[in-house]
Symmetry: C2
Subunit: 333 residues, 2 copies
């Protein structure tokens, strides 16, 4: 109901009767939050309690190909494998597409290529929903602005709101109950020396979705009451650090922000712990290296993997310390 | 200065001129907090921000033998090994004893026997200071009440205030600036089926003292602002759970309380993490067993070791799951 209202407002009264094109195609990068999105003020619209700030990983993400098909259902391929419509993943996707069907018997062939592990805390759903909505925009020749696409993608997955730009992106929480002021914007500052190192410690699907973990945290963690204050502080510091290119301030704040998000989860009941012993071992190694003078920090999302933050000048040393790490030059995509 | 004032108040104007006896002897058990003491409102007097609740481990603790000696300094033996007076441990002890010297040239031979690892999160300083002050009371034949001893021991180490009783003990935070209302009291409820399993995962001394970790948390963790609220809730639930003998309520609340304390530390800067990968592996094993229906919970103090909480009926199964665990029948000492 609330979602349909958003569609109405974006399309000024209703979806165009039928799409202009037979096919639609779009890529969206995944994004890593330096200041996390954790907790919703509206569950249906994925409206966040707080603003957040991310960095895009230019070569990592999702390409979605859409084509109209004359069938009674949608079909979904993920990396060339057909997904049963009864899986939770397909149900979520089909349900999201329902928002955009101009008539009842209108179905799509959805071909998704994704080059990051799914549901392992690498923001696969962020790039997934962003690329889907951008592909719909291409299919329908709607010519929506990125701001409008950001609002629509948010309805599928909160952090997808941030996946329409490269570089630093801020998602403003907004205050309106319909969420029309809750969308992301790029920061337009480049930092070519910045590196993100992906440390994949487990590819297994996470035992609890971030959607559910977020809700449990908001409902049961006493510490969550202090989270908005933490975000307000960190967001201001991060933007200042980006502005003056102070790496240790940027990355230290991002690490503290991630640890604080996981801290609110530990304090939920039943406790939520995405970290594996391997995660903790990698964290301790980062702290040790930093203690020895090497400027390296980490961030962690709703999964056991870590993303290291460092500068180009330390890349060789860090690749030696973490031979399995995949290094991403975030501003050289 | 503040400490000397406490001594004055307890001894009504000053210490007795010289001790009645040549020797003093006392044992104090260590205690495991189910509701943690974390954060001070007065650093010098070890006055806590919040109240706390613990359970004594009857056979684990410290025996302190004191004897007057005609030497220019104190001598300190720990488990038959002489400790140099220049070590931080000895300095802290000598400095504490300075509060109680009736005249300048008054020195003690201090023979400490302790059967728990020192400074590994097993509350060695709690039983240490409690047994020391109780041995002084014996040496001086002061006939102080346990309440008075609790206040004096707190000046050495906060949690020592709780180490004068067996069973459940509550330390009331108090509100007075001199701390004369900040002492512990026993709950006088027995629960013979209750078991504590000590899971020693590392005997190494902790990298950061709980004293320092507490201060850093109070000063830098945004989440700490929610800690007093968590304590107020948990303390009420724990007392109710003890009253009605609801084990899962008791142990679940204790686990959540411990995780929340560690959560406030993770959110400090630099982050504080007492857990080792082995700690996390053991936690996950506890969660798995619980998921399978076995009622087992854990608590963790300022160190990597865990203390499991369970009932006698599950002891055999848990000893099989954790073969290295030492089981303590807390009400059968």
């Amino acid at each position: 109901m609330k979602k349909a209202n958003v569609i109405d407002r974006i399309f000024h009264g209703g979806l165009p009767a039928s799409p202009r094109n037979q096919k639609g195609l779009a890529f969206a990068p995944t994004n890593i939050a330096l200041c996390k999105y954790w907790g919703k003020r509206d569950i249906e619209l994925n409206l966040p309690v707080t603003s957040s700030l991310s960095i895009a990983l230019p070569d990592k993400g999702t390409m979605t190909y859409l084509s109209l098909q004359d069938k009674a259902t949608d079909t979904i391929l993920v990396n060339d494998e057909e997904i049963a419509l009864t899986t939770p993943f397909a149900e979520r996707l089909v349900c999201y597409l329902d928002l955009f069907r101009p008539k009842k018997n209108w179905h799509l062939h959805i071909d998704i290529k994704i080059n990051i592990p799914i549901a392992a805390g690498l923001a696969s759903s962020a790039s997934g929903f962003a690329s889907l909505v951008a592909a719909l925009n291409d299919l329908g020749a709607w010519s929506l602005t990125k701001q409008q696409l950001s609002i629509l993608a948010r309805l599928g997955s909160g952090s997808a709101a941030r996946s329409f730009w490269m570089g630093f992106v801020e998602w403003n929480a907004g205050v309106q109950s319909d969420g029309m002021d809750s969308f992301a914007m790029p920061l337009d500052i480049e930092w070519p020396e910045l590196r993100v190192g992906i440390l994949t410690l487990s590819n297994k699907e996470k035992p609890i979705s971030s959607r559910e973990a977020m809700q449990r945290t908001v409902n049961s963690s006493v510490l969550y009451s202090a989270w908005p204050k933490k975000i307000a502080q960190d967001l201001a510091i991060l933007k200042q650090a980006i502005h003056v290119k102070n790496f240790s301030l940027l990355a230290g704040t991002a690490e503290s922000n991630a640890l604080t998000m996981h801290a609110t989860m530990l304090s939920s009941w039943p406790p939520i712990c995405y970290s594996l012993p391997e995660t903790l071992a990698a964290m301790r190694k980062v702290w040790e290296l930093r203690h020895e003078g090497l400027e390296v920090y980490f961030t962690q999302d709703a999964g056991p993997n870590l993303k290291l933050l460092f500068l180009e000048k330390n890349q060789a040393e860090l690749t030696e310390a973490f031979p399995d790490m995949e290094v991403i030059s975030v501003f050289e995509g």
